[in-house]
Point group: C2
């Protein structure tokens, strides 16, 4: 009996829907008719138009149920001394996030977002009951010497990520912030960025967890060695996730694909999320149209990600914490932008009408 291989649940993605240009055009028209000096809202105008095109609505709805989904995982490469932290710190960061004392939890309170933490690949138990179904595996292989995941684990990670996005959208989330916690995670992320963009290893090595020069050298070496292992697969996102990725990266990639398929706006920030974004946009071309780059990060690899995806960051906050803090910091501006388009008086109704030709 010949065995028919089961098709991968992620082999074929439906095409990514395009944002709604008609809604955007309506929003441009509405903006032009507001009782404000022409072009006076700057970035807030851009954000409002962006949200209109993604929601297919003019004026857009202010995001009321923004959701941060922090994907936590450990990385075998942490044993190479590439982080300022030892590997057991990931679990402590998860605990701090649950206790509302991690940066993203504190910032989310100000922005009115809620935070969910997922154990995608921690290598020890943490207080996250009922999460076995989101765990791809415990930890991941040391990517300078061995594969991070098996091919089956990659597919499982992608499936979990897609399921998570579905869960969130079905529960009413109207804006998603994928985020990451994991000691050593910027090393596979940087390697993936180098593999996809063709950058040299030294061009992607950042300070990550705030490492000093010695750890920086070790990180550069690890990335160089891992990149050699990844090079044969630069056109195959799944193979890259297997060879030089990690459980969190696979889950984030699936999450980003599915968020786009579900037409849900995403605030993109953090190098680990950014690396997953490169792969997601490869697997599902056009997915990046559903993402807003929240901020300019000091991680050099993140700059490469944004260039590759042709995304322009909204703010220059220089936040290097990957747990979603940067993206959540931008959320109040998105909310203000939506409300400005919806609630600002029109020139006609208020009589605040230019009497002279205005700039375009």
């Amino acid at each position: 009996v010949s065995e028919t291989p089961e098709p991968s649940p992620t082999a074929d993605f439906p095409p990514v829907p395009a944002p709604d240009l008609e809604a955007r055009n309506k929003a441009v028209e509405r903006l032009d008719g507001l009782a404000i000096p022409a072009g006076s809202l700057g970035v807030l105008a851009d954000l409002g138009l962006w949200l209109s095109s993604l929601q297919g609505l003019c004026p857009p709805r202010p995001p009321a149920r923004a959701r941060v989904v922090v994907i936590a995982a450990d990385h075998g490469i942490a044993a190479a001394g590439v982080s300022a932290y030892s590997a057991d710190v990931t679990a402590r960061q998860v605990a701090a996030t649950l206790e509302q004392s991690a940066p993203v939890a504190v910032t989310a309170t100000v922005a009115g977002a809620s935070v969910r933490v997922i154990d995608a690949g921690l290598d020890r138990d943490v207080a996250l009951p009922g999460q076995d179904r989101y765990r791809v595996r415990r930890g991941s292989g040391r990517i300078d010497r061995e594969d991070a995941l098996t091919a089956a684990e990659v597919d499982e990670g992608l499936r979990i990520g897609r399921a998570l996005a579905d869960e969130e959208v079905d529960s009413g989330a109207d804006l998603l912030v994928p985020a990451s916690l994991g000691v050593g995670a910027t090393t596979p992320a940087s390697t993936l960025v180098a593999a996809v963009t063709g950058a040299e290893p030294v061009a992607v090595v950042g300070r990550g967890s705030g490492i000093g020069d010695d750890a920086w050298m070790r990180k550069a070496t690890a990335i160089r060695d891992a990149l050699r292992r990844g090079k044969p697969h630069v056109r195959d996102p799944r193979a890259l996730l297997r060879a030089i990725g990690g459980a969190d990266l696979a889950v984030l990639t699936g999450f980003l694909v599915q968020a786009a398929l579900r037409k849900t706006p995403v605030l993109l920030d953090g190098l680990v999320v950014g690396a997953a974004g490169l792969l997601a946009d490869d697997l599902a071309p056009g997915a990046h149209h559903w993402w807003l780059a929240a901020q300019q990060s000091p991680e050099p690899a993140m700059t490469l990600v944004l260039q590759h995806l042709q995304l322009v960051p909204v703010l220059d906050l220089q936040i290097r914490h990957g747990d979603g803090t940067g993206a959540v910091s931008v959320l109040p501006l998105v909310q203000a932008a939506a409300r400005l388009l919806g609630e600002t008086a029109s020139a006609e109704s208020s009589g605040i009408t230019p009497v002279r030709a205005v700039t375009g």
Copy 2:
């Protein structure tokens, strides 16, 4: 009988207190001990330190009673066709602000700030009951040909501005956003900036209310002519307010001086507020230490203001509305920064401690 001239109520300002460097140092120490990668909070770290030094507290209190005070006035120079709007629009902008449909009112809702509108020099009645005591005069002189105010009106404007800041601080405001509404107001503001910084007229002429090229030329001409009238007084802020200022500019100047004397943090934005800031810092040297430049404005004169005061804008929002929208947009970041310093777990208590040398 010889008449002794009554001393001006604003002739002598007490010295501006310095921000509390000890509190700032404590905040730096606290930041270094947080359970976050070294240097990972970017701009949010800077904002927290800024607030600590101004409040003299570590950790700082998140601003809970931020107050926008919009100073409205008409300007004689509007008759020269320097704005996209006719002069009667100022009163309509005031009405829209009171009806919560002006940009600053909409944005303030998101940021949790409240908005107050003051008639400092409208040339017609608006629905602002009980405001006679804040009115310096109705309108102001056309500054390309005549003085904007009398010397007594300048002193009255400064006095009113100081009284307003006192009222707000005494009522519990813990962060102030001075703002401006007035058709034509960027013309005296730009002229004042040229006078104080020594810039050429064409270097300060911006698009203001969104003017086209013809109005831009008229504005440049008006500024050139007004600057000639102001030139003899470049070292005398009161004489500048008289010759080429306006009621709003005098009130804003007094407000900014007194806010600093009352040790109250100010978010500075908008060219009219910025021009008043130049004068306030001349009258009360060091006042600018109490101000945070909210954003990079597209008005060229505002860039000169920030350079002159050595203030670095927090964000690059390119908002050109002077009604406080830009400053209020930054407020959620200030609130997040304060909470991050106060509520983020310490490295020691959480066990999230670097095991390797970190970057400085």
